[in-house]
């Protein structure tokens, strides 16, 4: 017999979290959340207390992206909620599943400019997949069930639930229900067979086909299908920055990643292919370069679960609205019905050409033992972790070097703020990733600018014994902006020089974490190995690298992908 129980909103909330299988949440309490936090005190969910709400939500996203589960975070009303905005936007841009709870002032005070009141429903409207202002405690249970469903299905994204104080305190007879009524939400998982056949027909006649895979292939877990198809038919693969890790860096058909700082071979492959099969990618400007120079010789098929991503930036010839994995499984089923022998030779020549471009111009830098080259640090991290660590990055030059020089092996291994480009993302994301995957080594590759944007999370890492390693590629510059000033603004380094910075060792020690610093080339390996011995708190490694190293190749803004510049050497 199902007994109806009189429950408070806060209890319904925690019951719902348990029902959704939430094991970890990231939250910062506050006035209107007192009731909710009183309830959380007795509930068996690991609550991580960040030292700034932004740290909390980035950690929730790092957790979500490393594990594939929904990230959950809490912030109080007003400033607590507004501090979450960057994190919500970041999750929206990178399609990460988050359920974000914000406290709200009591219903009767809403609209009256009460203490710590902010219209978070309105503020977050353009940056959420969906949102709720729970006006009645009856709506709370269903709202949470829907929120989790919406956050993780289709193209994932953040869902905000704004919860007024009185709603959390109100009591009702509560019976949990799995039922949802979402008449306007029906993600399409299976592809239209006609479209699959069109794709295969086009592929059959193509002599220079190319896979272009994005973050969606990681979300839908489509790596195996892509590799299989690629290996069967000798089709080279390039990825977007967000697609890094979907296929191992060293997979024989993996040509690299495209875009502004992608490799030569990938950008050439895009430019010269005759049939581009884009999967789970949104053709961002950083990936495509000048749009009318993008894949100028190619017909394009695009598989994406989000119809609005199709033909948004680039006109698509064969649109396929579907889940990447499911549609590729469908495709694989039909493959034997086509004649692949006819162009087999040409396809294999094309694959060889793409690989040859990589041999001619791989990612490269001028090696030096007199200074620490930032690329060398990344190579070393890759080496000592055997390409098996989860890599979280901040934003800037170090982010690109991380993408260029770490040899990834698995999906969900590379966690970076791709769409929004959020400095300060990496360290908290690394904490979240490590909490989600404690058995994995987690390295944050950061910069001296980015790291300081959420350095307070050292405290969180210490408190919760999170053994995350942070490698700061310290050039005392906002390096990427400086690089643009160097290339396009006549070396006028306007406010990009970070002359004043903390002693990172002392900073780490102040939080009872471990700090290292390296000035010499020979220190790099030593310090990295030392760091692996510490697993109960964050480790900060201050690598003082060659200050004016630039990221190459580079497709300048407004240029097409084949118009790369390769540096001064």
């Amino acid at each position: 017999m199902v007994r109806h129980m009189l429950k408070r909103g806060a209890e319904i909330l925690t019951d719902s979290l348990k029902k959704e299988g939430v094991e970890i949440m990231f939250g910062y309490p506050g006035g209107v959340l007192l009731g909710v936090y009183d309830q959380l005190f007795d509930v068996d969910i690991l609550h991580i207390l960040p030292r700034h709400e932004q740290g909390g939500i980035h950690a929730a996203e790092g957790y979500a992206r490393a594990t594939g589960k929904v990230g959950v975070c809490f912030g109080t009303s007003g400033p607590g909620a507004t501090n979450l905005i960057t994190g919500i936007t970041n999750a929206y841009m990178d399609s990460s599943p988050l359920v974000v709870f914000t406290g709200q002032v009591s219903s009767e005070l809403i609209g009256g400019d009460a203490f710590q009141e902010a219209d978070i429903f309105g503020i977050t409207r353009p940056i959420v997949k969906h949102s709720y202002l729970v006006e009645d405690v009856k709506e709370l249970g269903p709202a949470i069930t829907e929120a989790f469903h919406i956050a993780k299905t289709g193209r994932p994204g953040p869902v905000v639930i704004d919860l007024p104080k009185d709603v959390a305190a109100a009591k009702i007879n509560y019976k949990p229900s799995e039922k949802m009524y979402l008449p306007g939400y029906k993600p399409n998982f299976e592809a239209n067979t006609m479209q699959i056949k069109k794709l295969l027909k086009m592929l059959e006649s193509s002599t220079r086909p190319l896979f272009y895979i994005g973050g969606g292939t990681i979300i839908s877990n489509a790596s195996a299908e892509i590799q299989k198809l690629s290996e069967m038919l000798n089709i080279p693969i390039v990825s977007s920055f967000m697609g890094l890790g979907a296929i191992p860096t060293l997979h024989t058909n993996n040509i690299g990643w495209i875009g502004m700082h992608g490799n030569y071979a990938s950008n050439m492959a895009i430019t010269q292919c005759d049939f581009l099969i884009a999967i789970g990618t949104r053709f961002s400007d950083r990936s495509t370069g000048r749009i009318n120079g993008f894949a100028p010789n190619a017909k394009i098929a695009h598989i994406d679960i989000d119809p609005a991503s199709i033909s948004k930036n680039v006109e698509i010839d064969i649109p396929i609205v579907a889940d990447a994995k499911i549609s590729l499984q469908q495709t694989l089923k039909y493959v034997p019905k086509y004649n692949w022998d006819k162009n087999a030779g040409k396809r294999s020549d094309w694959l060889k050409t793409a690989k040859k471009w990589n041999d001619e111009k791989p990612f490269s830098y001028t090696h030096s033992e007199k200074v620490i080259k930032p690329q060398y640090v990344v190579e070393k991290i890759s080496e000592i972790t055997d390409g098996d660590a989860i890599i979280c990055t901040d934003v800037g030059q170090h982010q690109m070097w991380a993408g260029q020089y770490y040899k990834l092996k698995h999906p969900r291994q590379f966690i970076s703020s791709g769409g929004l480009g959020t400095m300060g993302f990496g360290f908290p994301a690394g904490i979240g990733a490590k909490l989600g995957c404690p058995e994995k080594e987690v390295f944050v590759i950061s910069g001296d600018g980015s790291f300081l944007m959420n350095a307070q999370e050292l405290c969180t890492g210490k408190q919760h014994r999170v053994g995350v390693k942070v490698a700061i590629l310290n050039n005392k510059f906002l390096g990427m902006v400086r690089q643009w000033q160097h290339l396009f603004f006549n070396n006028r380094y306007s406010y990009t020089c970070l002359e004043c910075q903390p002693d990172f060792i002392k900073l780490a020690e102040a939080y009872e974490c471990k700090g290292f610093a390296a000035d010499k080339y020979s220190d790099v390996d030593k310090i990295l190995k030392e760091s692996l011995k510490i697993n109960d708190r964050p480790v900060i490694m201050d690598f003082r690298v060659d200050r004016e190293e630039n990221v190459y190749p580079m497709v300048p803004a407004g240029a097409s992908l084949d118009e790369m510049i390769f540096g001064e050497e």
Partner: protein, 170 residues
């Protein structure tokens, strides 16, 4: 090119701001938007008139469909449809030119719904073109105030925007 979209939405908190915000946020121009409940009180239909080439309109429709509370979007201008807009126009009207104005109002099948010694308010309903023509004809008399309701549109035939599968309980 002008397009009229019929957007079926759930009558939920904030749905109007989601729709209108989508237009401003993505830089689409909205010409008019009118909204009201349907014969089913939990549903509303928004009629949106927007300008843009095919590509933009297609993108607008896709973005609208992405909103969770949007159940259905139809580009009514692609269907055989009827379109109506209501205007209220207040104009200067002296005793001397009243008969002329009465005549024009009759020709355009409008109604005079308020009359003062020196002004009157006219109600008129029609297509965009007709209403524009009427406004132009009245201009010389001096328009004091003009209020437009925004276009409403409905496809001809027995199908309805409110037709959708209701068994969507997951």
């Amino acid at each position: 090119m002008k397009h009229i979209m019929s957007v079926l939405v759930e009558n939920k908190f904030g749905v109007l701001s989601r729709v209108s915000g989508l237009f401003s946020g993505r830089g689409y121009n909205i010409e008019s938007l009118s909204v009201g409940t349907t014969n089913e009180p939990e549903l509303s239909i928004m009629t949106i008139v927007a300008n843009g080439d095919e590509r933009i309109i297609e993108q607008i429709i896709k973005q609208l469909r992405k909103l969770i509370n949007v159940i259905k979007v139809r580009n009514v201008s692609k269907l055989d449809h009827i379109e109506r807009e209501m205007l209220l126009i207040k104009i200067h009207a002296s005793e001397k030119n009243r008969p002329d104005i009465f005549n024009m109002v009759n020709t355009f099948r409008g109604k005079i719904i308020d009359l003062n010694s020196d002004s009157m308010v006219i109600e008129i309903t029609g297509t965009d073109d007709k209403n524009e023509a009427f406004i132009n004809i009245l201009k010389p008399y001096g328009i004091i105030e003009l209020v437009r309701a925004g276009s409403l549109a409905m496809a001809r035939g027995s199908k309805a925007t409110t037709d959708y599968t209701r068994q969507n309980t997951i």
